[in-house]
Assembly symmetry: C2
Homo-oligomer: 181 residues x 2
Amino acid sequence: MDFQHLIVNRQSVRKYSNKPVETEKIQLCLEAARLAPSASNSQPWTFIWIDDPELLTLLAKASRGPLGTFNNFVSQAPVLVVMVIEKPKVLTEMGGRLKNKEYSLIDLGIAAEHFCLQAAELGLGTCMLGWFDEKAVKDLLHIPHEKVVGLLITLGYPAENYPLRKKVRKPFDKVVRRNSY
Amino acid sequence: MDFQHLIVNRQSVRKYSNKPVETEKIQLCLEAARLAPSASNSQPWTFIWIDDPELLTLLAKASRGPLGTFNNFVSQAPVLVVMVIEKPKVLTEMGGRLKNKEYSLIDLGIAAEHFCLQAAELGLGTCMLGWFDEKAVKDLLHIPHEKVVGLLITLGYPAENYPLRKKVRKPFDKVVRRNSY
């Protein structure tokens, strides 16, 4: 699949089949994330792969929106990946402070998308979750309290006949300028 | 090229040939960035594509490290893309504040990597620059002062015989855990 097709095929999947995901495929997705670039090659991340059914149930609960408004599908996903942000290299952190940029969040986005694109190529569905009860997630996975949990990603085979949606995006001319803002 | 090969082929390119980049290829890279996912589909970005030689020279100067320690190659790149962070949707911003997460930086990383991966597939080189004189960049490109410039990306054909480097990354077992931190 060329890259243009891959990005059209990658979409947030919010309904999963109960077909288990092969271990090698999970590893390939994690490997794609591991190889992601980062500011000064800091690799400020730890990926926790969860396939324990009891933990999955509790994590799904911890990522549900207020009053069950969203993220109710998470309990269907046979795999979750929790991305923990680690401290970058000292020099990167100093640069980030000087420039008032949290480079590690940019890095996290890059690694997360590597994971999701690799999954899409393997016929798997993903959904990045930015909303979750961080304290509950840390407690469940024994993540030290001073760490930051950046994102959760669901992983699984999409439900049968799950439709490929047309991407809704701002027009090219609205988001692209040339030589001046 | 499958995704595994694509991520191995994408690398930071710090030496460029003087071969100009075809307009359609620049547009394809920007299109890949435009189609990137973002928190609640906020698309919090504007991409400024710079190919004006005078502006390129001044922007290269504005992204040089202190005392010329790094980013000295930027002046060779025939194209620069400046990524400006725009305000996300109100709901996304509220969620981000509640959860103390700047989702737009994660989104920026995703879009930037879409750009760089598409470029790699087209045989082009890129390098993301997180270090630059933000005020100077804003002045040169007439970016309103209240905006945030997230990243600069160089784009061009790599210099002849530019080597493909082996990726240096932490081992899989160091960055991946299962069911517990």
